[in-house]
């Protein structure tokens, strides 16, 4: 793909776009009349077209996938958002919705398209403690919802790891999860209604089929912004529990830890979180400021958290400890107080950042497998990475079977990049072969398009394309994401750009 401007070397894949998008050739500058129209809607300062300022918008948190937007537009409210979408629709210019850019699938990469950033739409419009709901704009940071609800003894349950930065609009687009969705469910389970701006700029309120219609909220959630842009979301709140307590169980074998996961759930215990950290991750975390005092000769650590009444939580965790010991746990630690609980979580939540000590780049996988396959799969994944001469660090939502094997590499080493891609493919195929899926919470974006055929046949893909075409006939709204284009049965993974 030629750069057009020579400013950067475009390296996104040669994924063909529908014809209407091809008319707006990648990296063509934003037409002057369109720029003026956008400025009239949002104000001069909030239409960014300068190449140096656009560098910050080239990727989401998956920084190995980059593309060059032709502009970034930052509406401040619903009316401006509608106006922006109408201008772009009228000019047939493709666009990509973006929240805080914390996604891990390249879903907010806008190569040759306009980025619509909803990060300025940060108003909490209505907290309704009686109905236990809150109405928010899409740019509200996820953790801020719980903060707003806290004075009423309420909280928002989904807790993506990037909760301090990610926004509800992005959460809706990707149907975000997090450590606590084992009991509480993912974003879609906590949405009451949405307002979305359709690709032609029409606002429409969506509900959950309570009137006998279809669950259109469910359809849009996890749609990766390919069907429209979220302008408002009403989400459900839940009471803050009386007690929350965590336990750390340390194992000398991954297989024992994996079996303990299934046994805990089989006991009828329902932790809110059940996370696993592997040996490599323990080592790197313990060498960092986030050390939780875990012996580095341990093969795996489980973090188990329960909530409820104080007596009930202690009884549940006592039973969890028994199950862990019966599966060979060498040590079980119950957090004595809130400080210790947070320290246990630091080891899990800061693991990703700590990986930077091991390698400059990380390829994060997000497959989900049946829980009973966990132990066997973890060993098989280790074998794959060893065979490719790579380093692996895993920490993941074991209770959900949601694996995050992190392949460590250096993008400057072309051969290593090839091996990472090959290992990633093998891991994904292995997970799907057990009955699993290719993504549990990060989404498809650009990153996993090539794997869609592992979980969908031609007829299922065609049906999904028809939905997309029915709502976005001009293929303007994040049109190159999630669904492989027709005729591309062997989509290639986007190339990693050498920056």
């Amino acid at each position: 793909m030629s750069s057009g401007t020579g400013r950067v070397r475009a390296c996104l894949p040669p994924v063909s776009r529908p014809p209407s998008v091809d008319r707006m050739t990648a990296l063509q500058p934003l037409p002057v009349e369109c720029r003026s129209a956008l400025r009239a809607v949002v104000g001069r300062d909030w239409v960014i077209v300068e190449p140096d300022r656009l560098l910050a918008y080239e990727s989401d948190a998956l920084t190995t996938l980059r593309g060059s937007p032709i502009a970034a537009v930052l509406p401040h409210d619903r009316e401006q958002l509608i106006g922006v979408v109408r201008v772009l629709h009228g000019a047939r210019i493709p666009y990509v919705p973006r929240g805080a850019g914390t996604g891990l699938a390249g879903g907010a990469v806008a190569n040759g398209a306009v980025l619509i950033c909803t990060a300025r739409m940060t108003r909490i419009l209505d907290v309704d403690p009686e109905a236990r709901t809150v109405l928010v704009e899409p740019g509200v940071v996820t953790d801020d919802i719980s903060e707003a609800a806290a004075p009423h003894g309420l909280r928002y349950l989904p807790d993506p790891a990037s909760g301090v930065a990610c926004t509800i609009g992005g959460n809706v687009a990707m149907n975000s999860g997090g450590p606590h969705c084992l009991k509480h469910g993912v974003t879609s389970d906590h949405l009451v209604e949405l307002e979305v701006i359709l690709p032609d700029g029409t606002p429409v309120e969506l509900h959950r089929g309570e009137d006998g219609g279809l669950d259109l909220v469910g359809l849009f959630t996890g749609g990766e912004g390919t069907l429209g842009v979220v302008s408002r979301a009403r989400v459900r709140l839940a009471p803050v529990p009386g007690a929350v307590q965590a336990l750390l169980a340390l194992f000398e074998s991954v297989a024992s830890a994996g079996k303990a996961v299934s046994d805990i759930l089989a006991e009828g215990i329902l932790p809110v979180a059940l996370e696993m950290i592997d040996r490599e991750t323990i080592a790197v975390v313990e060498a960092s400021v986030y050390s939780a005092g875990i012996p580095t000769d341990m093969a795996a650590a489980l973090v188990v958290e329960c909530e409820g009444t104080p007596a009930g939580v202690l009884a549940d965790l006592a039973r969890v400890a028994e199950v862990a010991r019966s599966n060979g746990a060498r040590e079980v630690r119950l957090a004595g107080d809130e400080e210790e609980r947070l320290a246990i979580w630091q080891a899990r939540k800061k693991a990703y950042g700590a990986l930077g000590r091991l390698a400059p780049d990380v390829l994060v996988q997000d497959a989900v497998v049946p829980r009973t396959a966990l132990a066997e799969l973890l060993q098989a994944i280790e074998e794959i990475t060893r065979r490719h001469g790579l380093r692996l660090a895993s920490f993941f939502h074991a209770g959900d079977g949601n694996l995050h094997p992190n392949l460590l590499f250096d993008r400057r080493d072309g051969d290593q990049v090839e091996r990472v891609q090959e290992a990633g493919r093998e891991i994904m195929e292995l997970c799907v072969a057990t009955g699993g899926t290719i993504t549990g919470e990060h989404g498809i974006g650009l990153d996993k398009i090539r794997y869609m055929r592992l979980v969908f046949g031609p007829a299922e893909l065609a049906a999904q394309r028809r939905i997309k075409e029915a709502l976005d006939p001009h293929a303007l709204c994040n049109a190159d994401k999630m669904l492989p284009p027709p005729g591309h049965d062997e989509c290639r993974r986007p190339a990693i750009r050498d920056t």
Binding site: D211, A266, T439, G457
Partner: protein, 397 residues
């Protein structure tokens, strides 16, 4: 002459669908066709999934079960119970087939604490209206690959095709399950209303029932370990005492016997004082009301002021903001009056109404409240999936 097709396997369905005359929408049911009571105006082509009732796969340690769409939900629960598991569906949906349960997205008393049906359905297979065999979702508990078609199937009322196989999330049975009956001198409606707004310790399930012949009852269910239950029970008692309500623990066997096998219990029948769920019958129809938790309180108050002969029963799940109303449909006057009454009670309170059992006429009547934008969007999605153009409702499912 009605064309009734009862396939033995999903693979037989595409050919039958492709053989339908153009423009014909079949009636798809999970019921035994011999029990169907077709109404004038019903389609002349009927497909029953009753024989697709096999257990396809049970993975107890993965907490999933895959069954044919014709399996009765009661049977599914029996299979799960033998493994110490359960499908978190307790309510009118227990009377349906698995396919009917999904098609109607029937509400239940555990929706607020365990999530509604759309959270329990992980994957499904269907034959589309164009005769394609499609598989949506995977048998794992998290999955965000592609559009969430399993959620779209929940409540689609058969418009998107014939469901043939379903994979559900199962939950481990917790060590203790305890149910309490709340009784007051006059009515427990105010307690049910207060439950929707006040902090009564958030029970795992709450159900307020009223029937024309059996009176009323309010029951709360707690799940957990013994220590947790005892502590929550104390909170519950304190809350009830403040409302002047007496709390009695209900024997578990007594409680389980009522709803779990999906048979329901005759109103006021047997040795139990509490009313049961009205039986399915072709002469009654059912509305589901959904609203904000706190608005349900007002609905309950209005309802108790309107308890009239045409109402066969009322079942509300106060913590979920949902109520189900059974109306006697054998009186033509009631059929006409019911939507009017529901609207007068519901519209000022932003209640959304769905027909769970009834005919296309009732359905059309309640859909008139829908915003045009959403209605148009739904039609575009249905058309994109080649969907059928009429709703065949849960009384056939």
């Amino acid at each position: 002459m009605v064309d009734v097709f009862v396939p033995n396997a999903a693979g037989e369905i595409p050919e039958w669908i492709r053989s339908l005359p153009p423009g014909v929408t079949p009636l798809v049911t999970g019921a035994d066709p011999a029990t169907l009571e077709l109404r004038p105006g019903d389609p002349g082509h009927v497909l029953s999934t009753a024989r697709l009732d096999e257990l396809v796969e049970l993975r107890p340690r993965d907490l999933t079960i895959t069954v044919g769409a014709g399996m009765r939900v009661g049977r599914l629960q029996e299979i799960a119970r033998a493994e110490g598991l359960w499908l978190a569906v307790e309510g009118p949906g227990e009377q349906l087939s698995a396919g009917g349960l999904v098609s109607s997205a029937a509400a239940g008393s555990f929706d607020a604490s365990r999530g509604p049906l759309r959270r329990q359905l992980l994957a499904c297979c269907e034959v589309s209206p164009s005769g394609d065999l499609l598989r949506w979702g995977r048998p794992v508990v998290k999955n965000v690959a592609g559009y969430d078609l399993p959620r779209l199937m929940c409540g689609s009322r058969g418009r998107l095709g014939v469901l043939t196989e379903l994979t559900f999330r199962l939950w481990p049975r917790q060590p203790v399950r305890r149910t309490y009956r709340l009784e007051a001198e006059e009515s427990t409606a105010h307690a049910a209303a207060a439950l929707a707004t006040a902090d009564a310790g958030d029970p795992d399930a709450a159900t307020w029932r009223w029937s024309a012949t059996g009176g009323e009852e309010l029951t709360l269910t707690l799940l957990g370990n013994e220590a947790a239950i005892q502590s929550r029970e104390r909170d519950l008692s304190r809350w009830a005492e403040s409302l002047g309500i007496e709390v009695t623990e209900e024997a578990e066997a007594e409680f389980r016997g009522r709803g779990e096998n999906g048979s329901g219990r005759e109103a006021g029948g047997g040795a139990f004082k509490v009313p049961g769920r009205p039986q399915r019958s072709s002469s009654s129809f059912v509305f589901r009301l959904s609203t904000k938790r706190d608005y349900l309180a007002a609905i309950l108050e209005r309802f108790t002021a309107h308890l009239e002969a045409e109402t066969a029963g009322f079942e509300a799940y106060p913590t979920g903001g949902v109520a189900v109303v059974w109306l006697q449909g054998d009186e033509p006057a009631n059929r006409r009056a019911a939507p009017r009454w529901l609207h007068s009670a519901a519209v000022p309170l932003a209640v959304r109404i769905a027909v769970e059992r009834g005919g296309p006429e009732e359905h059309a009547a309640v859909l008139t409240r829908r915003a045009p934008g959403e209605r148009d969007l739904e039609e575009r999605v249905v058309a994109a999936l080649g969907g059928w153009d009429r709703h065949w409702l849960a009384d056939y499912l």
